[in-house]
Symmetry: C2
Subunit: 452 residues, 2 copies
């Protein structure tokens, strides 16, 4: 649905809500995809939003709720009666129900848990123990499972039984009598095999599975590398405990890319566009700005220490922005490449030295290019060839230095189990500023000393 359609429907709904034309509203709801309903409801004001949401049957309400961003969802849940909320959560898959319940205040969460089906409650409680960004945190417990000594027809019966509970079935998991995962059967295989065939004769035996504590980014890279539709989750004894489906992996990929990009820009945690509290937003961005601020104060302090040099040649200060910006930008280019290669698991640790050598060569070429340019410019503009040499040497040195730092820091952060993406943020650009200025002024001071 494009923006124009959405706008028209939204206006239409506003009018119908005002007229209290419930039958027509219900027609619109039935005809509209839950993901679009979520967009429409999100853009309404609070009163309309609550009124409209009330009209949804529990199943549609559950689907719409899952499409909301965190801010809209919290807003809406605040105004919802607990019994209605429980009814909605009851409709969700175990993984989605867990995500919603995990965001509720403890007393509300407990009430909801006590009001949903016992079976669902047990599942949610099992899932709540997993960290949010691990395989366990994104898996669902509902699986279509058969024993490997059962037949294709048995598998079809299992699909039929679970048909209500599990909307999308992509594959059937085969386990042995000890519950260990031994194979996967694509639905296509089930369709093309005769009913009495044994599962063990049609299943694929090379199963790629993960344990619950694996990072979600690792799972996403597996799915992307091996073109998987689902990833089974197993325990330490290879017993099947759950499944991760590709639609959740798609969300993970977008989430992780956003997280990397945010960290590169120095924004602490996820920011929904629907977030309206300036203070919450500000708190989200201040920490990194503060680091940059302190770092640049160190720059100011360094420059004050070189006061004497600055007094002697005021032109020295003209090139502070050039030195800072060229070092900063070159460093960010290098670290961006390294950060992405780590995130996408390209190349092994053995290639890190190659990478450093590669970046070093690029930095030499780029550094030489700009060193030559700045020398020419200072020569023709200020007619100070010697001073030009100093600036051009410093620029070259700062570019190479920043690139080397930008290549090494992400690798080190990764080894220390930090997200390397923070390396491209204000943290590294600030330290590059500080060291860049130190290099620049030290060379200038040496030059002035030599002049005397």
């Amino acid at each position: 649905m494009d923006l124009q359609d959405r706008k028209e429907i939204t206006e239409n709904i506003s009018y119908l809500l005002h007229e209290q034309d419930i039958p027509k509203l219900k027609n619109i709801i039935v005809d509209t995809h839950p993901a679009d309903l979520a967009d429409i409801i999100r853009d309404m004001d609070d009163d309309e939003r609550n009124e409209m949401f009330k009209l949804l049957d529990p199943e549609t309400a559950s689907e719409v709720m899952l499409e909301f961003d965190d801010v809209t969802r919290e807003d809406l849940i605040k105004d919802l009666e607990t019994s209605r909320l429980s009814e909605i959560v009851n409709e969700m898959d175990s993984d989605d129900a867990t995500d919603v319940i995990a965001t509720l205040p403890e007393p509300v969460a407990n009430t909801v848990l006590s009001q949903i089906d016992t079976e669902d409650r047990v599942e949610v409680e099992k899932l709540l123990v997993h960290e949010e960004d691990t395989a366990g945190g994104i898996m669902a417990l509902e699986t279509v499972t058969v024993f490997d000594d059962q037949t294709v027809d048995d598998a079809i019966q299992v699909i039929r039984q679970k048909s209500q509970e599990i909307e999308h079935v992509y594959q059937v998991y085969a386990i042995d009598r000890e519950g260990r995962l031994v194979g996967i059967v694509p639905l296509k295989k089930l369709i093309l095999s005769s009913p009495e065939t044994l599962i063990r004769d049609v299943m694929q035996r090379d199963v790629i599975s993960v344990t619950a504590e694996k990072d979600q980014e690792y799972v996403a890279n597996l799915v992307s590398k091996y073109d998987l539709l689902t990833v089974p989750v197993v325990d330490a004894h290879n017993r099947l405990v759950g499944r991760i489906t590709i639609d959740d992996v798609v969300d993970v990929l977008q989430e992780e890319a956003n997280e990397d990009i945010r960290r590169m820009a120095g924004i602490s945690s996820e920011e929904a566009l629907q977030e309206t509290s300036s203070f919450r937003l500000s708190r989200n961005r201040l920490p990194w700005l503060f680091i940059a601020f302190v770092g640049e104060l160190v720059s100011a302090f360094i420059m004050s220490r070189f006061n004497a040099s600055l007094q002697q040649i005021i032109t020295l200060s003209f090139f502070v922005p050039v030195i800072m910006a060229m070092g900063g930008n070159s460093g960010i280019q290098a670290s961006t490449i390294v950060v992405r290669s780590i995130a996408m698991d390209e190349g092994g640790a053995s290639n890190r030295w190659d990478m450093l050598y590669r970046e070093f060569r690029v930095a030499l070429i780029n550094g030489l290019t700009f060193a030559t340019l700045i020398f020419a410019i200072i020569y023709f503009w200020l007619h100070q060839p010697l001073f030009g040499l100093v600036v051009s040497f410093a620029l070259m040195f700062v570019i190479v230095f920043s690139v080397v730092v930008g290549t090494i820091i992400p690798v080190v952060l990764h080894r220390m189990k930090f997200d390397p993406a923070i390396a491209t943020g204000p943290f590294i650009t600030t330290s590059n500023d500080v060291f860049g200025l130190l290099i620049y002024f030290s060379m200038a001071a040496a030059y002035l000393k030599w002049l005397q």
Copy 2:
């Protein structure tokens, strides 16, 4: 397969290649996933790589080739005989074959086209006309299609016929007798329905489809929003022409995220980590660095125009890095949020003003915070309260200015059909530097004038 395993296998293969133990090598090949084989072969030196690749049967070779990055693939194809290459391409789906052929030099591409099956050639030629980053560029022509007046059993027969040609079947498309797409049948539905049921009675009628010229990012957003497994591609008359599967969409999502991140860092085009030519890499990064360089020279020029002010208070120059860095970082935070929201199609155009207002408020809070801090610092460090006021006002103004620019520019770029991601790169940071310094020195000059 983790790094350790891969290393062991690689060493093992090196040894076996040296010993020319072909049977054992073939065993390893059969036991290893093509995606892992691709990793292993990529890390070999040229001779081993070619020797190993020769041992793969055409089907495995085609799968391995598709897993390679562009640089490795080109390297390998260079040393491949055209007849062997044709044999390999012949094994590929039409979309993958097209991608490979599109990268070949024209004479080689023509030879390969003349050597593959006629049917495949016709398909590839059809696909070659589409832009690489559109729905047409990523679609495959192979589809499992039935008429809506056929039965479930007919559909199963079609799947059986196409089973060889199409490895992964997720859904069956239903068309009417004019070839128009009218429905989709998930495999689960086929399994659970009796063979004589009519397709039109089991198909889902709300089909989300795209036309071939749609941008691949649009397709990816559809898949992510509506949790789709495949997206059918139709022509202007809604006739089915091809399909896009989720594994290709996963690749698109990663590609687009990488592209955004690269553009934010000012790197022109895709850089494979396997790229070893320093000059090619350097050419990829120089353009944006050059823009930054020219911009910062303007900064130098501005500072030279304020030479008189600088001579009077040398301390003015100490705070150049603070002003530049705080403006730059705040601007990048704002534009990152805006760029991502545009890429993920969050919120409509109607919300752009809300976004600007939101960012403005955040900038005010953050600006005030740092203005207060810098005033206190200058007061206690340099004991110059009036000068402190000038710097703190300038800092506040620069932060707000940079945030407003960082919010507006991506929206404008998007309207003008440019990728908004370039807005967070050196382009905007550099212009923020220049304007930031201009603001800072203008306020300082006014202050000096007022002192006299």
